[in-house]
Amino acid sequence: MDTILGINAIAFWIVATGALVGISGGILGSFLVLRRMSMIADAISHSVLPGIALAFALTGSRAPIPILLGALFAGLVTVALTEAIRRYAKVGEDAAIGVVFTTMFALGVVMVSRFSANVDLDTDCILSGVLETAALETVNVMGLDIPSITLNMAILTLVIVSIVFLLWKELKLVAFDPDLAKTLGFRPKFVNAILMFLVAAFSVMAFEAVGTILVVAMLIVPATAAYMLTNRLSIMVILAVAIGISSAFLGRHAAFLLDTTVAGMIAVATGIHLVLAVFFGPEHGYLARKIANARLAVQTNIEDLLAMIVRTRGTDGACSLPLETAHKAFGGGLRARGVIIGARFMRLVEVKGIAIKPTREGARKGMEQLRKHRLWETWLAERCGLPADHVHEPAHRMEHFIDENLADMVADDLGRPTVDPHGREIV
């Protein structure tokens, strides 16, 4: 069959396989990233090599079950050795991981060279897998010719989704608060073991399809990108899966256009998603934070300006701040001008000649600032025992973060004072 759903069959299976890797990788990777176990995933994906080589040497075939068992065995050995070294060596966990996975990988290389020198476990295969030729070895399932690696990957994905679904609460709790989990009777060690088991299984299945690099990339990068986009675990997992699928799709197309390796291109695609998430992520993204900071700066500066103006209130109730004073207060130049323009734009002040006067709204806001400032000064002086000449600075900073509620609470707590430590009126 040459087309599936109207798409070229080979392309379809490549994307499908990649997408399945993305789904399992995204789900597992979310937990790994949250628990700072990304490098352990990197390690396991490298150290399954001797297990695969052993299975191949013993059975002479690349059937999935022995390979899976071999890899799991290698995965177990890796985790056990890493634990042992971490406990006995006076070097950190990272060194333990480094020692174990490189040694296992070297062992795997030796075994591969000795036992399977004339089989196609070659460099390219290890690095990039066999995505391009996935459609060649098919299995007939219910009348449809499915590539065997796709089928294996699909089964694995199903298993992973089921287990994660069943253990969702446990995984979630252990990821965020292992101590609480223990006291509640969940078993963090058991949950961890299951996670590692799934990671090893994933590494091995996906390794055959997409090579070591994409295994690591699909585990870590989509989940990391998702981490930048949300604060909720369920959303993070969904996003990671979506990014994985999207990367498979985009990567395959780009690889076709540029005539290059699909696995590598999918890895690059995940990277592009990460870059986008890092820059444009709402709330945590670089741009979003810069914008939020800028807004806060503008708001703070305008509030300072209003408070300054209101402090010039004379006995007739009118406030008027000389432009020059305002400029100097903000360090002159662009910044000062920007603040005044901003305040005018928000209709909080009017510039009349060489003086700035507040509008009604501006005066109200300014008085509010002043009230918060003086209340805080009073609170610092009376409740914290700070001397009168020490309270202005902290109050000057804090006043921007006190809302109405807090101001009222402070006023109540102090018994509704009418003067601040400098003798000035609190309204």
Partner: protein
Amino acid sequence: MSYNTAIVLVGTGLLGMAGGVVGTFAVLRGRSLVGDAVAHSALPGLTLGFMLVGTKSFPVMLAGAAISGMFGMWLIGWLSRNTRIKADAATGAVLSVLFGLGLVMSSAVQNDPSGSQAGLDSFLLGKTAGMISSDVFTLAIVGAVVVALVGLMFKEFKLAVFDSAFAKASGLPVALLDTILMAMIVATTVVGLPAVGVVLMAALLVIPGASARFWSNDLGQIVVLAGAFGAISGVVGTLGSATWSDVPAGAVIVLTGAGIFMISMLFAPERGILHKVVRNTTFSIHMTRDHILKALIESAETGSTGMSQKSLAKAVAGPGLTIQIVLALMQLHKLVETRNALVFPTATGRDKGIHLVKAHRLWEFYLINEMDIAKDHVHRDADELEHVLSPEIVAELERRLALENNTVLPSAHPVGEDS
């Protein structure tokens, strides 16, 4: 030995030494996977160098690899510092994406008929056989520079790496030193890549330092040892791989290093596992011995003479076999003797036992009367401390509690109401 083999031996020896020396700083700072990250990040630059120059020109490719590697490191740092992404995820993400990019570029190159794979293909596993004297020359230079820099600026590096706040306060240019260290790691990694490949280069940076850590607490000694271990791994590994012609030398070098690591972990004095096991066993034998003596003395207080092995085992609450072994040892050391299947303390044993009982009860008395601790809370504490309270401390306790010398207090919890 052929000239070629000699060349390769010198080259890998130097590589191992440089990797060991410079990698130790990363290992001891908890950044062991730096080498892995650099090695993977170097691929795009390596390929770009190849693409620009056309034919395999080593210096250009190495320069590209170095720039790319440093970029990867910088990126990892930037992500860790400026986003909520943690260091481990940043490392994994950067290394896999950059390596993927490198694969994409190298695959594009390989599809171009004029591209010759040499240097790119061997990137994964290395190809020491292809080493020629100019490569060794490069390695020698890098090795010499690394050793010289580390040697000359040892004190500065030590301070900057392990106590950067103090170093900064002392006026050291910590950021600059850090950059120099990074640059050395990158340089070593990059020159080692053609020889041993990506993953295995990471190994050469981590394993020697981790092994050396078992033998000393002194940074200078560790660095020197790491260099030696690295060099030995390089040389022995290369020799070993010469006998296995189909196995890449990089793998054998790493396995040799791992062997050294295992030996260090097991047999190093003080920090090795064997030593710890011996020390712990000796300690628990001493504890059991002390408990037996105490049990004998306390049973004598209630009037019984001698104890059977069974009742001793119950009193001391340990595995029967241990009790038997310890008793045998005690008999050997003339601390106890057996008469009519009952165990008695000898004169020496009695002295020691009395001291222990005295120490235990004194401590309990002190806790109850001076520290206001409840009667049923003092036993465990005293049980632990009785073994380590020296005669001087015991005398001091007696003085403070205003007791006459050599009083043996009654038990704060007579047998029968034991915890």
